[in-house]
């Protein structure tokens, strides 16, 4: 009942069209005032959640993208993609999914993935005649791959709370992540075929392709630099973001020329504005999470599920529904911390593999990022495009369906996740 009232209250407040951070913060304050009689701790919650060095990846990856866009490095990259696969209907959508997949393998965060790819991809997709809501949806959904394809911040957190192997989880995420990317790509092509208004020029010929390739080489070199830096142990995630920014500046100033101090400042200012939008929602979500944790709301619901006494399959299904619902309102870190310790004992006693569950959980947390009313990737896309939220939600909704199918598939065939870690020697 409390659960219903809290979430109904939040939804009503959100629908009045006040800023999302204010809706989250005010709902939290009302809860605290009713249950505690004061609003202590809200300020501390905001401070604690913003004071995290890893969050520096958000402005830095945005900054990298801004510099590459302003210097028109990204234009060349998309010209290349368009020249090579533009004649295939939906090819640009596939290219965007591919870019998200590559970036997901660089970053541990879905927000960073959607931010960096979205800032450059959406204007380009529109440039080549993609329907706007499709472009928005592809990036919102493709961006979520950031936490399923390793490295992944939420996976590390889940592994520590559940005592599952981090290495095994990382490996287990690869196949489902790549499969989802494939499904997204196929969907883009199918969708493009049913919409005749998407441009699909004729094949431009090898000479044009080669020329486009050599122009885009500097942009193409950025992912291996950043990703290689992380995999070979040169950089941590935030260092990779800084190195990527440095590289982008180098290319902009030395190769493309004409990038002055004024451009630098404009890029930083645009980065500031985009980051603010994300960070203030993190702040509001921190207050909201603090309030409902304090009144033990998610704990109560999760305990109720544990006490239902279900079969393994029934348990997984009910838990997935529960996390889907929580995911509409909460961000992934909070969901992991709140539900995992309570669900784990029952899960183990039912013989459910924590690695397999971990991957199901990750896909569900990906969904949380593109389901309204609180979905970070929806907000990110909104922040960088100014499109109405309803259009973004509409664009992302087919992908919600695809991910739900993916989860059902993974429930039916657990080997998709467990095969790779088992083959690599992670066993019980």
């Amino acid at each position: 009942m409390t659960l219903f009232l809290v979430f109904a209250g939040l939804i009503v407040l959100l629908l009045t069209g006040i800023p999302i951070f204010a809706a989250l913060g005010l709902t939290a304050s009302v809860i605290l005032f009713l249950f505690e009689g004061d609003m202590d701790g809200t300020g501390d919650a905001v401070y604690t959640h913003l004071n995290k060095p890893i969050l520096s990846t958000i402005p830095l990856f945005v900054f990298m993208a801004q510099v590459m866009i302003r210097a028109k490095v990204i234009d060349d990259l998309y010209d290349f993609a368009h020249t090579v696969i533009g004649h295939v209907k939906g090819g640009l959508g596939v290219a965007t999914v591919l870019a998200c997949t590559i970036f997901a393998a660089i970053s541990g965060s879905s927000v960073a993935t959607a931010l960096s790819i979205g800032s450059s991809a959406i204007p380009q997709m529109k440039r080549f005649g993609y329907p706007e809501h499709n472009a928005l949806g592809v990036v919102a959904a493709g961006g979520t791959l950031g936490i399923l394809i390793p490295p992944s911040g939420p996976m590390i957190l889940y592994a520590i709370v559940s005592e599952a192997s981090i290495g095994a989880l990382f490996l287990a995420g690869i196949v489902p992540g790549v499969l989802l990317a494939l499904v997204f790509s196929v969907y883009c092509m199918v969708q493009a075929r049913t919409h005749s208004n998407i441009d699909a020029p004729d094949w431009a010929g090898w000479a044009r392709a080669r020329a486009a390739f050599s122009r885009s080489i500097w942009a193409l070199l950025a992912p291996p630099l950043v990703m290689g830096g992380i995999y070979f142990g040169v950089f941590t995630a935030s260092e990779a973001a800084a190195a990527g920014s440095l590289y982008a500046l180098f290319v902009a100033v030395v190769i493309y020329r004409g990038f002055g101090l004024r451009d630098l400042w404009e890029c930083a200012y645009a980065t500031m504005r985009t980051s603010m939008m994300v960070f203030m929602i993190i702040a509001g979500a921190a207050m909201f999470g603090h309030a409902i944790t304090l009144i033990r709301l998610p704990v109560g619901v999760t305990e109720a599920v544990v006490n239902l006494g279900l079969s393994p399959l029934g348990f997984i299904l009910v838990v997935m529904v529960l996390i889907f619902v929580l995911g509409m309102f909460l961000e992934s870190i909070a969901i992991i911390l709140i539900t995992t310790p309570i669900l784990l004992p029952t899960m183990l006693s039912l013989g459910i593999d924590p690695i397999w569950y971990g991957i199901l959980l990750m896909i569900n947390l990906e969904l949380a990022m593109i389901t309204p009313p609180v979905g970070m990737n929806l907000f990110v896309i909104k922040g960088i495009t100014d499109a109405p939220l309803s259009r973004i939600v509409r664009g992302a909704s087919p992908f919600v369906f695809l991910m739900l199918c993916g989860m059902a598939f993974l429930v039916a065939f657990p080997q998709i996740a467990t095969w790779l870690p088992t083959a690599a020697g992670f066993g019980r």
């Binding site: 407040l13 959100l14 629908l15 009045t16 069209g17 006040i18 800023p19 999302i20 951070f21 204010a22 809706a23 913060g25 005010l26 304050s29 609003m39 202590d40 809200t42 300020g43 501390d44 905001v46 401070y47 913003l50 004071n51 995290k52 060095p53 969050l55 520096s56 402005p59 830095l60 900054f63 040169v234 950089f235 935030s238 260092e239 973001a241 800084a242 190195a243 920014s245 440095l246 400042w265 930083a268 980065t271 500031m272 504005r273 985009t274 980051s275 603010m276 939008m277 960070f279 203030m280 929602i281 702040a283 509001g284 009313p373 907000f379 909104k382 922040g383 109405p388 939220l389 309803s390």
Partner: protein
């Protein structure tokens, strides 16, 4: 207060608090922008220190955390001024003008309330931490209230900016 027929002239007329608040908000937005560059330079320097000079900057991560808090809180009012903070627009874009005006009033009021709650709450924490004498643990041992101060500043700026907007809506301006 100027009446509605006069509102073009009124908007142009120098309105001291508006110029003052807008000026300070823009200045803090610039500081926030500058802090992004500082964070970028600091992380880059830390990498170079580690690899080239084999002397990692131990305090780097802690300071990045503090800089992030300052960056967010100093920039949020400027982002609000530019209309960057997003809201769910499923309903609000379909309202008739008079209702839309009430919606804007409510929206600005909600931001003022948010700023007030955040500001008062963190002010409590700051004064308590100051009298308690608590220090951060790690490589930069500073009193814990110091890095929280930007939150008070940010809450005041955000509240003031929203108050200006509220006032402008009351005067009948559309934006």
């Amino acid at each position: 207060m100027p009446d509605r027929e006069n509102r073009k002239g009124a908007a142009k007329a120098p309105f001291f608090p508006e110029r003052l608040v807008t000026g300070v908000v823009r200045l803090c937005g610039a500081v926030s922008t500058f802090l992004i560059l500082v964070i970028f330079v600091q992380i880059t320097t830390a990498v170079i220190q580690r690899y080239v000079f084999n002397r990692p900057i131990q305090w780097s991560d802690e300071v990045i955390g503090y800089l992030l808090v300052a960056m967010v809180m100093l920039g949020t009012a400027e982002a609000f001024r530019r209309g960057d903070h997003i809201s769910i627009d499923l309903v609000s874009t379909r309202l008739s003008p008079p209702i839309a005006r009430i919606q804007r009033l409510f929206s600005n009021l909600s931001v003022i309330a948010f700023a007030l709650i955040l500001g008062v709450s963190i002010w409590d924490s700051i004064t308590f931490a100051y009298s308690f004498g608590s220090y951060s643990v790690g490589y930069v041992e500073i009193e814990t209230w110091i890095p929280q101060v930007p939150i008070v500043v940010g809450a005041i700026l955000l509240g003031a900016m929203a108050a200006l907007r509220l006032f402008a809506t009351l005067r009948g301006e559309r934006k």
